[in-house]
Symmetry: C2
Subunit: 252 residues, 2 copies
């Protein structure tokens, strides 16, 4: 397959390097277009009122891919519309350094890279290593390689994407994978207030995951139990239940 | 009610001024916290590795609200957790200059401001004037004022938000409102390639709405026909149909 790879940790991140290696070793043709700096928590931002740049980026003297001034969503648009010299079959965003579970999803540049592929009509996958300490990128890359041997990405519907989270363990310790739902895993946010040298208040966002018993179907439950979590997401955020309730209340 | 207002056009934008005036004239207590510059198309970005600032912003010699260095999502977090001197009942993000229909939703800083409120557990509403030329902010503000007189925001479920798009017409020409679904309205994106003075290629994103016949239930159909569109959205982007299909294929 012809794969466009992006990420939100930036083109120099180890996760994108491992992903590219595994995909090429599996016989896929790969184009990398990724942000020139880390763009974590950038969500689905795109660059509208400014232009974007894309420069060749080399690693060990060899062309590795394009480093763009844009966001992950920009990189997907630019990669597909401008930079690719072959027809893209699938967009893969990652391997992210850290989990994209529950309420991480809307903030995630990695997931947004995949959802951008979905908007553009391409089967798309986001993949993350859930550890913030010592990621096991090889586990995630090997899992995806195997998964793509048996899974036809055309099964991903238009405007849909798979959000894959991989436990940070050796491949031999993975128990398998589960099809899951985005959970309500969230954080108890707070700010630490400080004063800058000019006398102005400023605020650091802090927070820890609120530990609740996750539902059996959830993304979080799967990775807690050493399964890879594969969550089918949609660009459409429609709340069907509330739609039906309000439509009944206001037939309009 | 006690309302936190944010937007993505920035604190100096006319839409936020009209919204605040209408909400206060209707007897609501209002706190404004909005970006200090325009942050359109910023999606659900938040500021994690940097601190955020919030400075008092005055208009005609009177305190208007807080101008923050952060994104709309940051402004909602900061407003609720740090700046509010009263308990917030509802978050309102807008009035945006321009439509947030169909595939605009994931890119929208305005909608993401409301979804941030939803993640934090507050009933939340995004409101946009669909015109990119001459917005009718008074129409949108008057509509919302009336709507909040008969609609209890507690009907918005946890992790849900309403995305309201208002036709850019005089109030008398509004036909009413419809409960709708986020449509697949999208753009035929392309880039215009140029060379900068240093010899590097750079790219401007361009694109027009692809005009297709929208479904009767869609956000786009409502505003095309001079109805206000009210779309119940969810932070959960689960694709239930694909979940069920893949779960059957991979019982795991």
């Amino acid at each position: 397959m012809n794969i466009l790879i992006t990420n939100d940790d930036g083109i120099t991140a180890p996760g994108i390097k491992v992903l590219k290696e595994y995909m090429m070793n599996a016989g896929h043709q790969v184009l990398v277009c990724a942000p020139d700096v880390e763009r974590s928590a950038i969500g689905h931002a795109i660059t509208l009122r400014m232009p974007v740049w894309a420069k060749s980026y080399s690693l060990n003297g060899q062309f590795f891919g394009y480093a763009s001034s844009g966001t992950p969503a920009d990189c997907v648009k630019l990669g597909i519309l401008q930079l690719a010299r072959f027809k893209i079959d699938i967009v893969v965003s990652g391997i992210n350094h850290g989990a994209n579970l529950g309420t991480d999803v809307p903030y995630s540049g990695t997931v947004s890279g995949a959802l951008e592929g979905a908007i553009m009509g391409y089967p798309s996958i986001a993949i993350s290593d859930v550890s913030h300490q010592e990621p096991a990128y090889e586990t995630a890359a090997a899992f995806l390689t195997n998964f793509l041997m048996s899974f036809d990405p055309k099964a991903i519907p238009p405007f849909g994407a798979l959000n894959i989270n991989v436990p940070s363990v050796p491949l031999s310790e993975l128990k398998g994978f589960k099809i899951t739902k985005q959970s309500n895993r969230r954080y108890d946010d707070f700010y630490e207030k400080r004063k800058d040298p000019y006398g102005n208040d400023y605020f650091w966002l802090m927070g820890n995951v609120i530990e609740e018993q996750p539902s059996f179907e959830s993304d979080y439950y799967a990775v807690m139990n050493h399964y890879v979590s594969i969550t089918p997401l949609s660009v459409f955020m429609n709340d069907e239940k509330t739609f039906n309730q309000l439509r009944q209340q206001f037939p309009g």
